[in-house]
């Protein structure tokens, strides 16, 4: 499990009568962007909530989760569908809130300002979330996620409610942040374009309960194995 920052083993989640997951397995490679594509309302957010340790109300949950082979949950950053900023606090404080608990106040402010600058919101530090546009709020949420010192970043369709121009701008900002701040990313979406642009590996899930129907890593492995077998056959060391 050393190459995987995240491993979900034999997960079953039942909500009411509905089985969302049953004997479900998933791994996310360290510092890679794994993108999960699944239909809307199928339980993608539930999976991310489970990984983040958010209690799943009215749900029966069984299974194991390992973070880099350990059961202890590390610090996790989360880009939600909505920015989830605290309305009564300005943007700088919104980014600082998680930081002041893990570093000094001076370091927290410095780091918050650095990441707000990276998402080009340094001039809006003192603005309240309501005073920002939807795209700016989501950038502030990104700044909070990246400023927080975590190895794992969960993204739950953070560009969903944005128009195309802002969506592309946000994706570009995210790529720049990921280039400088390496994270293991688990990104769920139902938008294939977003997945293709951002991901290192795409996992397609469908059905009820949800299961993996196509995993790019498996396809690549199968292709590599096939190529190897061809190569062996051509060199005469193996028989197809």
């Amino acid at each position: 499990m050393s190459g995987n920052a995240l491993s979900i083993v034999d997960l079953s989640i039942t909500r009411g009568e509905k089985k969302l997951y049953h004997n479900f397995y998933l791994e996310a490679e360290t510092e890679k962007i794994t993108c999960i594509i699944a239909p809307s309302g199928s339980g993608k957010t539930t999976l991310l909530d489970y990984i983040a340790g958010i209690s799943l109300e009215h749900a029966d949950v069984h299974g194991d989760i390992f973070f880099a082979g350990k059961t202890e949950r590390p610090a996790v950053s989360f880009l939600f569908q909505e920015p989830r900023l605290i309305p009564s606090a300005d943007i700088l404080h919104n980014v600082m809130f998680p930081l002041v608990n893990v570093m000094t106040r001076e370091s927290a402010e410095k780091r918050a300002r650095l990441f707000l600058d990276r998402v080009q919101l340094s001039e809006k530090c003192t603005s309240l979330p309501d005073e920002l546009s939807g795209g700016e709020r989501q950038r502030a949420s990104m700044a909070r996620g990246f400023a927080y010192p975590s190895k794992l970043l969960l993204m739950d369709e953070p560009f969903q409610s944005q128009d195309l121009r802002i969506k592309l701008y946000l994706i570009n900002t995210l790529r720049q942040l990921l280039a400088s701040e390496k994270r293991t990313v688990l990104f769920v979406t139902h938008d294939v374009q977003e997945a293709v642009i951002l991901s290192d590996r795409i996992v397609i899930m469908d059905g009820s309960p949800l299961k993996v129907i196509l995993d790019e890593r498996q396809v690549k492995k199968q292709n590599e194995a096939f190529v190897k077998r061809i190569a062996s056959f051509v060199s005469g060391t193996a028989v197809l």
Binding site: G53, F97, N101
Partner: protein
């Protein structure tokens, strides 16, 4: 906006003049100060009362009872409201007793309380009892309205309990709590005065009203009622202004 404000003020003034005109006309029609005194007579009675030191002692005693019962109601109501908001067990547990309190007439509690407490304590006890459901419901509603999405965010980013309370729970609960407190404050005056009328403590505006009523001094009864209305209305408005200012100020504090 300015036009709207001046229209509102004009409407208030017109309404006040209209009420006094109706009162004056009705007093002329009845033509019996014992049944309905003229506004002028009531005003004279009010001025005479204001000159007497004992009148202010009565007002002071009622004011103290109101403050004590209001503070007790806020403390108890907030505590029970927090329990009800945090746990569905407590919500169901307190639901029935609070419904009984809501459905019971004030006078029943006053008459029962006369068996249990001294005449001075009865108004306080009854007032706490009647305002408790208001405070409890308001606080519990505020807790129920806490944004679960923000709560989840706070959990993921490992907010401290203090941060979660200050920035997520409090902003949600505070408007409901303050609205409940303002309503409870207004109700306190009415219930305390009613309690005093029936329990007759040594000092209190209710006692004053009851004494005036027994002596058929209708103008005095109306004058004391006028004082209660002014104090209740004025202090309720003052309280509302203070809490609104404090709510605005909480947004300025930092982590």
């Amino acid at each position: 906006m300015k036009v709207f404000t001046s229209n509102k003020t004009a409407a208030y003034c017109f309404s006040t003049v209209f009420l006094f005109a109706v009162w004056e006309a009705a007093a002329h029609t009845v033509n019996s100060p014992l049944i309905l005194p003229f506004p002028g007579e009531v005003f004279k009675a009010f001025l005479l009362l204001c000159r007497e030191m004992s009148f202010w002692q009565h007002v002071g005693a009622t004011f103290m009872r109101c403050m004590v019962s209001f503070i007790l109601s806020v403390v108890l109501g907030t505590g029970i409201g927090i329990l009800c908001g945090a746990s569905s067990f407590f919500k169901n547990f307190f639901s029935f007793p609070l419904e009984i309190i809501r459905a019971t007439p004030v006078v029943s509690f006053i008459l029962l309380a006369l068996f249990w407490f001294t005449s001075s304590q009865v108004p306080v006890f009854v007032s706490v009892l009647m305002t408790l459901p208001v405070m409890t419901t308001a606080t519990a509603q505020g807790f129920a309205k806490v944004d679960s999405n923000l709560d989840a965010m706070a959990h993921v980013y490992a907010f401290t309990g203090k941060q979660t309370f200050r920035w997520i729970t409090l902003p949600s609960v505070l408007p409901f709590f303050l609205s409940g407190a303002v309503s409870a404050f207004g109700l306190t005056w009415k219930v305390v005065a009613a309690g005093e009328v029936l329990s007759l403590p040594a000092k209190g505006v209710g006692t004053l009203m009851q004494t005036a009523q027994v002596h058929l001094e209708t103008a005095d009864v109306a004058a004391v009622t006028f004082v209660i209305v002014v104090l209740s209305f004025g202090l309720e408005k003052l309280f509302a202004v203070i809490v609104t200012r404090n709510v605005k100020r909480t947004g300025d504090s930092v982590i």
